[in-house]
């Protein structure tokens, strides 16, 4: 077998595997984050930022942490 074709095939398989693992890992984060976002009053679709590698989770957390929750927050005195 042509070694170049073999390497290309192996590389494609590896890329595919990485994408699948990334999607599964993102899904494990997206499900609870979707619920947190909807409970906070945001669109659940905000949790899809978890699909963005590296900075995605920071974007979701940043929105949840630094913006006012439309459905209300615990009063400051009770924190």
């Amino acid at each position: 077998m042509d070694p170049v074709a073999w390497l290309l095939g192996l590389g494609s398989l590896l890329v595919f595997g990485v994408i699948v693992v990334h999607l599964l890992a993102a899904l494990v984060l997206i499900i609870p984050t979707w619920r947190i976002c909807t409970r906070a009053g945001f669109s659940g679709a905000l949790s899809l930022f978890h699909l963005v590698p590296l900075i995605g989770p920071f974007i979701v957390m940043g929105v949840l942490a630094f913006s006012d929750w439309p459905s209300g927050e615990a009063p400051s005195g009770k924190r």
């Binding site: 609870p32 947190i36 459905s71 209300g72």
Partner: protein, 204 residues
């Protein structure tokens, strides 16, 4: 070569540390907004530094998403509680006042200018080609207008129209209205045709 690798590792460590501090700070704020102590969020993030890695913070994320938040109890608490009320705990704003402006239909028929007013004193009005004999009859003197031709409904701030099946026909903004369509909301319509008479709908 070794220096470059060490530098790269050092840079990665710096970015990792910044990310960790940022994530811990944000987790603290998020958990606080839900009514839980902030250190719980920070602790969950710091757990990633330990040997148990990401599994426990991941489990805590799921627990946090589906647990009962103290914020929900505060929001549901009766007004007048000692703690300051959150925006969601405030009573809803009063409902908007009903729009009582009259509807106007104006145009030109074979019998002359037509100016009809529906001020809502009657729940229904009847459009007819004959002379109006009752309080709820609106006359459009024209041979193409049936006797009666159509029925108008005034409800709240909305106006409905129902064709009564006359040969002249009824159109709403050019679209044919048939008797089987029943009453249609024409509040947003601009022009009504009864027979060949064009009536402009307005609300001064």
């Amino acid at each position: 070569m070794g220096v470059e690798i060490l530098g790269l590792l050092g840079l990665s460590s710096v970015f990792g540390l910044i990310g960790l501090v940022l994530a811990g700070w944000m987790a603290w704020r998020i958990v606080e907004k839900a009514g839980l102590p902030g250190w719980a969020g920070l602790g969950a993030i710091l757990l990633t530094l330990t040997g148990i890695g990401t599994i426990v913070p991941l489990i805590l994320l799921w627990v946090f998403a589906f647990m009962r938040w103290p914020r929900d109890e505060m929001v549901g608490a009766a007004p007048g509680a000692s703690s300051p009320a959150s925006p969601a705990a405030l009573p809803p704003p009063p409902a908007a006042l009903a729009d009582r402006r009259a509807w106007r239909l104006s145009g030109l028929s074979a019998g002359g200018p037509v100016a009809l007013s529906m001020d809502g004193t009657q729940p229904t009005y009847v459009l007819t080609g004959a002379a109006a004999q009752q309080a709820n009859e609106l006359s459009v003197p024209d041979p193409t207008v049936g006797q009666p031709h159509a029925r108008l409904f005034v409800s709240g701030g909305r106006l409905g129209l129902e064709d009564l099946g006359t040969p002249g026909g009824t159109r709403i903004d050019g679209a044919r209205l048939l008797p089987e369509h029943g009453p249609r909301d024409i509040s947003a319509a601009r022009v009504i045709h009864v027979g060949t008479v064009e009536l402009a709908l307005s609300r001064p």
